[in-house]
Subunit: 555 residues, 2 copies
């Protein structure tokens, strides 16, 4: 009897059917390795949640098999969960210099730096992780030092793009290594895993360099202070601001904690080229005339606590917006942040600043490949099987459609959910079973202690507030000896609703009387009768449904 | 001595520096009239609020002067506050037939229909309101029967565009009456008040008719059921769906309460042309083959309770999405709704539907004028003074910039806040003083009973939940005879946090002990000592700040 073929398993634990928390497991026999380990930002209904990390219980259950974690680039949605995950699963981490430089900072903040093995790789390096070989291939994205991965497995080669665009004129170093992609494609690729973020956009994504040209034009005509808000991690963007500042004789001040951190790391590691003395302390900006200053700041997404938002609302300690300031928001709002950004723009205009934002000039380009770039990748790699990754369902679906248009057979394309297992041999692929996958919510110091019940209660409280009714009864007789006292929060403005509060007490008393009449004396029955009576009364009176908490104290 | 010149006052009570709740007051001597009276949708931080209406205390204080309310068109942000306002300020209302037809429905729902005087006007009609004459001028917008207004006042003519675009090929009736605008401009206009919504868009807004052409193309190629989601109020859009259905032999079913209502009103009043028998009952859709059916539905904004959202999530009672269904979302997401719409698109794709949405085809056009249309209005009206209206501050500011580019002097342009008073004579204009203006929050049956304190509490509860601590003490001795009992909601999952709950009780006991030691026996001191102790303990342990409610019962 022929030996049963062993199979390769590819298991996305995040990043499919959602934006963020990218993480994928590759497993063959006794070997597992992981690509990326990112966070997602909380959805609107995750009230009070700080961030979301992937459920990695599948990995901790198989911890003896896990050979390492490979990182494609240093964005939060690809490395941000590591400080949480490495506490539980301490395995070697591999990534390029800047990626690990950014990770180091995070680990240091979490007090983890000394416990973790970080292995710096260069482009074209090949590492071995059990039976896997992983080659790092130069790529281009909205952060420096990003890589694509060729993963050589016992059943064939997998090509994983990571997040990417095809930028023929990157700011630093070489463009994406198309020759190597072509070579891999020629030798035969079993599975392509390709970024789907911008699959809805026609044509090509513009080169990062075009933004620099816009900066030059703006800087040339500016007569006052310039402030530029952008993503802290976009080192190339920041370099272009630096270049424009040099060209037009301005000093640079850096504002916002993450901006300061990233610029420091990038300069230390040689990813930015900044002449001595160009960067000045933010405390010294007023020593220079306005036309000699550029301030680079966080807050391009209108985040409420960010530097730019504070400047716009007049709450920033070091920078005050003055009429004539020119503010450039060099970013597009991430879906969900549109109103936050809009508020900042309004506030800046009100303070007399000029504001250049998305609808006004080419001051931002995306870091993700548009349709024509995706087509190029598909044509070069010519995979047998295809799994669209990094995107909501609609992106994955449309990326699948694009592959079909390019001639792939639909049965060779796998739109996956997180936790689903794709099993591959050298001549077959199918979805077979699933493993634990999902989200773990981080709230303050708590990791995973806020679940659906807590969120449901927060939602309920946020909509109509709360009524607490407290009654003290005598244990022996069941007689009420204090209360009902009524406390409300987030329901109505109490001072103007004293009559309503009095009525609430009456409703409680009547409900209690009913309990006594019917000899319903156990506490939980009493509580539920009070709750029902109050709920009906309040809905009738106000058409609102506050949370009702009856509390009975026995003495 | 010369008699002091009387002045015209123009006072926006809403719609400037914000999107929605449009309302403007015109006052001269003892005469006041009002243009529009709309709602705004709650901002993200107005938790639990249903809608926002303008503060009209300035009008109720001057109620004997108010001659009437003039409506420009039937959108919620122009008529939606009337059911609340007319209860308090019952004055005659003037508007075109469809506008008042839509208003009638609202008033009926609020049981107000019999108490209100509604006066139907036609385009070119002139009405008198005290010393004012108001002429209704045909306009085009994303709802039928919209009007601009020429307001003849003792100090000069005001031209108010209302919401508008310049559509040379409207679906029904004549285009906007440019000849009359030119004539007014030639005779001299003192003040232009012009819609600023789309001032950030270059060029021209496309004609509504272009959407019909896209529908035709899509319908021609569709082989299965078609569902179209759009704004219920866009009667012309719905008419174009009807036209395509007729052309390609499909029956129509209507879904969603507001869609049914508007179609009924529009058909009754002659604004839609629908052949007998074309519309079928939603219960009968399965009697026809899929290629013979179009379903027109609400939910184009992904509103959680809307028909399309329910269909997408499988919760709709009458319509189940089946693979092959073609869903057209004929609308753009209003800022803030992007993620809701995205979720619906994902869910529809998952159910096997094809979905055509904003990034895919020309299935929607805006109802507001872009830059070139605005320029045409400015050139035709040639006003002495200009007040940009309908927009956030950035829109107003950029509209002002556009007017300056067209040659207006900046001192003749007034960017106003709501409540500010613009005083005009026939040769002067200045901002002089202000009146009460603002927002009134509607939550369930409550109008204005939810204010900042209630919202702040809802926000607090939504972020970290709540801890209630109840203690019963003996009045005479101050001894604790029951408790502390701890109840938490929305904080942590209690079953997994029993240790924490026990620690909370210990912290309370220690705090109480401290009170006794220091002889601090008044309740409010005790409560605040407990609250502080718990707050510090919980932040240290969890980095969260739940609301803490200490309750002391005395027996």
């Amino acid at each position: 009897m022929a030996k049963k073929k062993r199979k390769l398993k590819v298991i996305p634990l995040g990043g499919l059917g959602e934006i963020g928390k990218n993480i994928t497991v590759f497993e063959y026999g006794d070997d597992i390795f992981v690509v990326d380990c990112g966070i997602a930002f909380p959805e609107d209904d995750m009230l009070g949640i700080d961030l979301v990390i992937p459920d990695i219980s599948y990995l901790t259950k198989n911890r003896e098999k896990v050979r390492g974690i490979v990182l494609t680039h240093g964005h939060e949605d690809h490395i941000g969960a590591l400080p949480y995950v490495l506490k539980d699963l301490n395995v070697p981490v591999y990534g390029t210099k800047l990626t690990l430089g950014l990770l180091e900072q995070k680990l240091e903040e979490h007090g983890l730096l000394n416990n973790v093995v970080l292995n710096v790789v260069k482009h074209s390096d090949v590492i071995e992780l059990g039976c896997f070989k992983v080659e790092f291939i130069r790529s281009t994205h909205s952060i420096a030092d990003s890589t694509a991965l060729a993963i050589f497995t016992p059943v064939g080669t997998i090509f994983h793009t990571g997040d990417f665009k095809i930028d023929y004129t990157p700011i630093e170093g070489e463009p994406i290594d198309l020759a190597r992609l072509a070579e891999l494609g020629k030798k035969g690729v079993l599975l392509l895993m390709c970024d789907s973020t911008n699959v809805e956009r026609e044509g090509y994504t513009m080169s990062e360099k075009t933004v620099g040209e816009t900066f030059d034009e703006i800087f040339m005509n500016a007569k006052n202070r310039i402030l530029v808000a952008t993503f802290a991690s976009n080192v190339h963007r920041i370099q272009q601001i630096v270049n424009a500042a040099i060209k037009f004789g301005r000093k640079i001040a850096i504002c916002g904690r993450s901006m300061v951190n990233v610029v420091n790391v990038a300069m230390e590691l040689g990813y930015m080229n900044v002449p001595e003395g160009l960067i000045i302390d933010i405390d010294h900006i007023n020593k220079y005339p306005p036309e000699k200053i550029v301030i680079i700041t966080t807050g391009s997404q209108g985040e409420p606590m960010s530097a730019l938002t504070r400047m716009a609302s007049g709450d920033h300690k070091k920078v005050e917006i003055i009429p004539g300031d020119l503010v450039i928001i060099s970013a597009n709002p991430i879906p969900g942040n549109e109103k936050l950004v809009s508020r900042v723009v309004n506030d800046l205009f009100k303070k007399g600043a000029e504001v250049i934002y998305e609808s006004l000039a080419d001051i931002h380009v995306s870091g993700h490949a548009s349709q024509e770039e995706l087509k190029l990748i598909h044509r070069l790699i010519r995979p047998k099987y295809f799994m669209p990754v990094h995107g909501e369902y609609r992106h994955l679906k449309r990326h699948a459609n694009l592959a079909v248009e390019l001639g792939m057979s639909p049965e060779n394309i796998f739109i996956m959910d997180i936790g689903k297992v794709l099993e591959l041999t050298n001549d077959s692929a199918k979805i077979n079973g699933s493993v634990n996958a999902g989200r773990v919510l981080v709230d303050g110091l708590g990791v995973g202690d806020v679940g659906n019940i807590v969120l449901r209660d927060r939602k309920h409280l946020s909509q109509d507030g709360l009524i607490v009714v407290v009654i003290t009864i005598e244990g022996d007789t069941g007689n009420v000896i204090a209360g009902p006292d009524v406390i409300s929060r987030g329901f109505v403005y109490v001072r103007e609703s004293e009559d309503l509060m009095e009525e609430i007490r009456e409703v409680c008393k009547a409900a209690l009387q009913k309990c006594n009449d019917k000899k319903k004396n156990d506490w939980s029955t009493k509580k539920s009768i009070i709750r029902d009576a109050l709920r009906d009364f309040l809905y009738e009176r106000t058409k609102r449904r506050p949370m009702i908490l009856p509390i009975i104290m026995e003495v």
